[in-house]
């Protein structure tokens, strides 16, 4: 294996044999010996022929839907599962973080758990002694270390576990969605730890659903779907490919109209048309079923990871309510939003309420659209920005002379 490769995975497959009737008693094993024909097993192909290499110092993302096999792959990389076929070769010390705080025992104090979890990470007591104060300080738990872990809040537990995890001296780290837990403050700590890993040129294999994190940290990424590698490439490409998996689903929902939707039905959105250009145009055909005094209409745009990029209704932009609607009226509404959206997939939510705060129609996945850009950034939107400056000074400048 070349020196610059940290992990080489060649032809790895993993099958789980699931007996339909699990034999876990000796009687079962004996009776099954006699009626072998009845014993049916189902082989689940969790991974099929996975090949990839991760270079030393690379931040490598693995993305995929739930059940795609990415966690199984991570466990195989960590040596927890054995591959059915193929092999994995690693160079350097590998530390997996399938979960934070492995081995934590709620009956022990925070202090005792530091030593226990430290041992799981491979630290001797002496080594933990030396870094104990730093660990506690980083976790901001100085006053709680002699309390039992069961009396900690979940946030405190995660902080302690994370503080320990950041201490591990690995060449290769396997990280499984630890970012999914914790509050904003904790996530910020996670991100700065990631930045440090990147700066230290550690090899990191990162399994996640968070495409923003993939775009921001990963040098390369791999998309796993249906137990196979679907695509490997730059973080940007993979993040987009991943979003496409959901895109199809989201627009399917919208077409069938089976997205989340509720309301009293006094007015109903019958058709949603989304056009993408210099502006995002959202046209709504609304049928009025029962008289409505004043109709307030809203539009929300959500990014692929369900972050509300923008939300507005007619009152917020000083547009008039629609008044005195009669049953049988047909109303059309045309929204126009300047297309400042970054490369990605978005869903549209439309809302109809009246001035008495009754919800008439609240349509979560009413439509979707896709924005393709080459001038991508890591932020959610790209508003038109211009900048200029003026400068005043006493001494003469070169450019003044020319």
């Amino acid at each position: 294996m070349p020196d610059d490769i940290a992990i080489k995975v060649s032809g790895v497959s993993k099958n789980f044999v699931l007996p339909h009737e699990r034999v876990s008693s000796i009687k079962g094993a004996f009776t099954n010996l006699y009626k072998k024909k009845d014993r049916t097993t189902e082989t689940q192909h969790a991974l099929r022929d996975i090949d990839f290499e991760v270079k030393k110092g690379e931040f490598f993302g693995i993305v995929g839907r739930n059940g795609s096999g990415k966690s199984t792959l991570l466990k195989i990389l960590a040596g927890i599962y054995q591959p059915t076929l193929g092999q994995i070769r690693t160079q350097g010390k590998l530390v997996p973080f399938i979960e934070l705080g492995v081995g934590f025992n709620p009956e022990l104090t925070g202090r005792e758990n530091v030593y226990l979890n430290g041992a799981m990470l491979g630290f001797s007591e002496k080594e933990v002694d030396a870094m104990y104060d730093d660990i506690v300080e980083f976790a901001e738990l100085e006053r709680f270390m002699d309390q039992k872990l069961k009396n900690y809040s979940s946030g405190m537990q995660v902080r302690l576990a994370f503080s320990l995890a950041t201490r591990s001296e690995a060449d290769i780290l396997l990280v499984d969605e630890v970012l999914a837990v914790g509050d904003a403050d904790f996530q910020r700590k996670c991100f700065s730890y990631f930045k440090k890993l990147k700066a230290d040129k550690k090899t990191v294999i990162f399994v996640t659903h968070d495409m923003n994190a993939v775009r921001e940290y990963c040098d390369r990424a791999m998309l796993i779907d249906k137990s196979e590698v679907q695509k490997m490439g730059s973080a940007q490409d993979i993040a987009r490919e991943y979003a496409l998996l959901f895109m199809d689903k989201a627009s399917d929902h919208a077409k069938k109209g089976d997205g989340k939707r509720w309301g009293n039905g006094d007015a109903k959105v019958e058709k949603v048309t989304v056009k993408v250009g210099k502006e995002i145009g959202v046209d709504l055909d609304i049928a009025i079923e029962r008289p409505v005094g004043r109709l307030i209409y809203g539009l929300h745009i959500m990014s692929e990871d369900s972050v509300e990029v923008t939300a507005m209704n007619n009152r917020m932009i000083q547009a008039p309510d629609v008044a005195d609607l009669k049953a049988g009226d047909k109303l059309t509404v045309h929204w126009k939003v300047l297309n400042v959206f970054n490369d990605g997939n978005y869903t549209v939510m439309v809302t109809l309420i009246d001035d008495l705060a009754n919800t008439l129609d609240w349509f979560v996945r009413a439509g979707s659209f896709q924005v393709r850009r080459t001038d991508r950034s890591t932020t959610a939107i790209l508003p038109p920005i211009s900048v200029s400056y003026s400068l005043k000074g006493k001494h003469k400048r070169n450019d003044d002379e020319s």
């Binding site: 789980f16 876990s24 008693s25 000796i26 009687k27 094993a29 466990k75 960590a78 040596g79 927890i80 599962y81 054995q82 997996p96 399938i98 979960e99 492995v102 081995g103 025992n105 009956e107 022990l108 005792e112 030593y115 226990l116 430290g118 041992a119 799981m120 491979g122 630290f123 001797s124 007591e125």
Partner: protein, 275 residues
Amino acid sequence: MSTNVKRIMQRYRYSVILLRQLVKTDFKLRYQGSFLGYLWSLLRPLFMFVILYLVFTVFLPTSKDIPHKAVYLFLGIVLWNYFGEVTTGSVGAILGKGDLLRKINFPKYVVILAVTASAVINLLLNSIIVAIFMIFNHVSISWNAFLIIPLLGELLVLAIGLSFFLSALFVRFRDVSYIWDVLMQAGFYATPILYSLTQIATVHHKVAQALILNPMAQIIQDARYVLVTPTNATIHTLYVGKAWVWSVPVGLTVLIAVVGSLYFRSRSKSFAEEA
């Protein structure tokens, strides 16, 4: 070459660190919340001895043939309890650590060693009580007493070997724990712990000869021979002139240890999936 040596050292180091913490945790948790705490480790065997003494020397002074009856019984029970603690504790040990197995990759044998180490600590504490009462009972101690060390070694190997086998088997077949409970019950009576093998030998010599082939019987009787009563029936007194018979229980012990460890090793890779 040197990197290979380093790697082996590294792996070994991790096992030791892990073992230490697992044993410590177990010890901390065992007496947590109890008023007397660790003291119970000494008080339990002490009370057991007092009960044995009251029952078998004060109220039921049977079989006068055994000198230092209470110490004699106590030693047998301590050794049997150690064996029971290791094996029964180990049966479910791997499955009990399922949570850990699914999250990190560590040498699985450490789990069994941790159970063993906890039991060894208990055995040592019990030995203190044994020693105290040997002195109180004026048991005469000879140089033979040092032979207890290889005997304890044999017991250790036997218990670990069985534990490896049972714990690995239990991951597949959950009946194992119940079967082992029954076997332990039967074993308790098949082993001359509460009754005198010497007496059995006078009535049914063949039965006594058969019983002593069980490694536990051989270990307990030999231990009593070297520590308490040199008149005790052992494998040597039951098979006079056939010193080779001694190799049967010892051979069984080695066989169990080898088969148990190999089975454990071959199965340990799939523990994470099955546990």
